[in-house]
């Protein structure tokens, strides 16, 4: 039975056309994956469904009835539930309070009945098969994956209107570890079993192919293809998304050069790490994997914050702060590009040139604006940054181009070692392969590249060697050629 059908949906923002006749069909008890490059129209389609923007044309039917939600509240009443990439939660409140945000609390004698609230919250979590989260826990104490589960559970609480019929999940695994993603997949399966439809937006090909029944691909605001997940291949999906444009032709992991060491970590402790030691060769792309909390996500920051004894090109190096690191040719791309990476209100050129200002000056004091601009433009071109010009505000760039701006910053000066944390999070396929190609090029030019990532497919794809972190220690090191996704995951869990 057709649960949700969209026909010829159109929307333009001023002169910019976002959707020009997109269509899709979602049946009850099915998962439909929605894919497409950034700017293909996915977000606009979801915003129309959620009642956040109004369509210019087209038709949406829910269980055969035409609908046109005019507000998020109306979409909720119709039985549509949305789980966004950016979590809408209050970190200082408990799990139960977050579940009941915006809903009337159970009361007793006019006061909040906390016992009833916690019992109902526990029941809501249990319906998802989540038993390990106590409703009283303050949300900020939970790992990101558990916060996501709380958010999903809140979509299940029906106080008014229609019960949930369609779940729209927008990049839900972007911030999750492999382990947490697995739990989410089980929940998606349970939703289908209850007869709900799941519209699942993701950039991750492997994930989509295993999870979805069918896959609809948007390109330039139109439906480019709808494929059966049983028979679809990654190549077919990429071709549909890009319109056949060839990408990542280099393919395959980088070769270990076996050359001299670029970075030698003799001992790295503190910040949750325990005596980590390894060597990163010149021209090598070295991956760091691990479950959430295992330390992979803290490694790059610990390296620049002076937690360890390091050597650069074999010589002892004093790196006590990011400033020391940049000064010695160690560049850093932090994990959260908006919170830790970019100056969003400032322009592209200023963002790229920032770590290199000590070279871009006259008489060591005055800023050399012309060279600032020149360096930024050159670096921007090398990473294929798409911007109207070097003075465009970073805030107005797409996610992929913001990521590229961080890469441009990293390569704008002399580069010996590049430290990356989640280099392609929330980035579309095209930009992702641009980034992979760039990393290979940098490695070929002799830089050592360290990539910490929760995307195992990514690590296996680009790295020559992968370090596995467990409980803050370096648990294993293996050549990527000897690993499969299964064996890598097993190493992360410590069951080899």
């Amino acid at each position: 039975m057709e649960l949700l059908s969209i026909r010829g949906l159109a929307k333009a923002y001023g002169g910019a056309v976002a959707l020009r006749g997109a269509s899709l069909t979602l049946s009850a008890g099915q998962t439909l994956a929605l894919m497409g490059e950034n700017g293909a129209g996915k977000s606009t389609l979801i915003k129309i469904l959620a009642g956040a923007v109004a369509a210019d044309g087209g038709e949406i039917r829910l269980a055969g009835q035409p609908i046109a939600p005019r507000s998020p509240a109306e979409a909720h009443r119709l039985g549509l539930r949305f789980i966004h990439q950016e979590l809408n939660i209050v970190a200082g409140l408990s799990v139960a309070e977050n579940l009941w945000l915006g809903r009337p609390y159970p009361r007793r004698f006019g006061l909040v009945d906390w016992r009833a609230l916690h019992a109902r919250a526990g029941a809501a979590l249990a319906r998802l098969g989540v038993e390990h989260i106590a409703p009283q826990t303050i949300l900020s104490r939970l790992p990101v994956g558990d916060r996501m589960l709380v958010k999903i559970a809140s979509a299940f609480i029906d106080e008014s209107g229609e019960p949930a019929r369609v779940f729209v999940m927008d990049e839900p695994t972007a911030a999750l570890t492999a382990q947490e993603s697995q739990r989410l997949f089980r929940i998606v399966a349970a939703l289908r079993a209850r007869g709900c439809g799941v519209l699942y937006v993701s950039h991750r090909l492997d994930e989509v192919l295993t999870l979805a029944d069918r896959i609809t691909v948007l390109r330039d605001g139109q439906t480019a293809a709808t494929l059966d997940a049983e028979t679809a291949t990654k190549a077919a999906l990429i071709a549909a998304m890009t319109g056949g444009r060839a990408i990542d032709s280099a393919g395959g992991p980088a070769e270990a050069s076996g050359a001299a060491a670029a970075l030698t970590v003799e001992a790295l402790s503190g910040e949750g790490l325990d005596d980590v030691a390894f060597t990163l060769g010149r021209g090598e792309i070295l991956g760091v994997a691990g479950l959430a909390g295992a330390g992979a996500e803290r490694l790059t920051r610990a390296l620049v914050n002076g937690a360890g004894r390091l050597r650069l090109d074999g010589k002892p190096a004093a790196i006590r702060s990011p400033a020391d690191a940049w000064a010695q040719g160690v560049a850093l791309c932090p994990r959260e590009r908006r919170a830790q990476g970019l100056l969003l209100m400032q322009d592209v050129a200023r963002n790229i040139a920032l770590p290199h200002l000590s070279r871009l000056n006259r008489w060591r004091f005055f800023l050399d604006r012309r060279r600032e601009l020149g360096v930024a433009v050159e670096a921007g071109q090398r990473v294929r940054l798409k911007a109207r010009g070097p003075r465009q505000k970073v805030r107005t760039l797409s996610g992929g181009n913001q990521q590229k701006a961080m890469f441009a910053r990293a390569i704008a000066g002399p580069l010996r070692v590049l430290l990356l944390d989640e280099p392609t999070r929330g980035v579309d396929v095209g930009a992702k392969f641009d980034i992979y190609a760039l990393l290979r090029e940098l490695a070929r030019a002799g830089a050592g590249v360290l990539v910490a990532s929760s995307d195992q497919e990514e690590l296996l794809h680009i790295c020559s060697r992968i370090l596995v972190m467990r409980d803050g220690r370096l648990a294993a090191s293996a050549s990527a050629a000897d690993l499969t996704p299964q064996t890598l995951l097993a190493l992360c869990y410590g069951e080899s």
Binding site: L342, F365, F366
Partner: protein, 316 residues
Amino acid sequence: MARFLSRFGTPLGFLLLIAFFGFELPGTFFTSRNLINISQQMSMLAVVSATMTVVMAMGDFDLSVGSIASLAGIVAAIAFVAGAPPLVAVPLALAVGLAAGLVNGFLVAYVGIMPFIATLGALTVFSGLAFRLSDGKTIFGAAIPAAFGGFARGGVSVGGVTIPHLTLVAAAVLFLVWLFLEQTVLGRRLYAIGGNAEAARLAGVRIKPLKLLAFGLSGLGAAAAGLMLASRVASANPTQGAGLMLDAIAAVFLGMTMSENGEPRAPFTLIGVLLLGVLGNGLTQLDVDSYVRDIITGSIIIVAVAAGSLGKAREG
């Protein structure tokens, strides 16, 4: 329209204000004597606002500038009483201001106290020091050298018009702050801290020494303004800088509404200072009660900044 008003509301209001006073005060407002008078009246505020711009470029505040100004004036006066010549007393007072600013910077950058709290505490301490050193009395009379008091009354004659020394000092400080913030590497880094301190740190900006420097400059500017005040009245009292802090922050805020990405910039701060200065001068000439003047000044600041944030909210 909303965006236009939010960015150009402040200069537009400034022009309207000038037109209004020119119309209401024919023959007295637009005289070179009055305009020069205005420039001299607001030169102290211009200096403090200029160095406040440096601190606010990092996204911080300095609430202690008024009491540093008072303290610097008292220090100079006491040095005069002890027989020191201006060449000793003036650098001494400036050094005290710089040291006071560095104390603020140390508390904010190295101890990690919020600027609001650190400089609020400092405000009270420096004010208390000024009272203690002066016994709460105004220091004046023969002890103040004629050369010191004469500086503020003197000027440089340009084509028949005498530009007061104080106006020239204010112009020089504004120019130096503009040069520092917009033409130097350190200025770029200060704005980076204001944009996103954690991102700036991870991109290799050393935040602590820069904060120390910025607060030090703010203290130095406040001390300079205190000396200018003291020179103007050839005396020093422990409350003479009291009004400077709120007006300086208001002037920088008025200027920030004009900048494209909400950053404080020296030329825009100047417009904020001019607006406040013209308003004060015009209303005084119209014999408007000083309490009413406060109400009008405060309202203008709120309206300007509200218009600025309304435009931003709509954009976002």
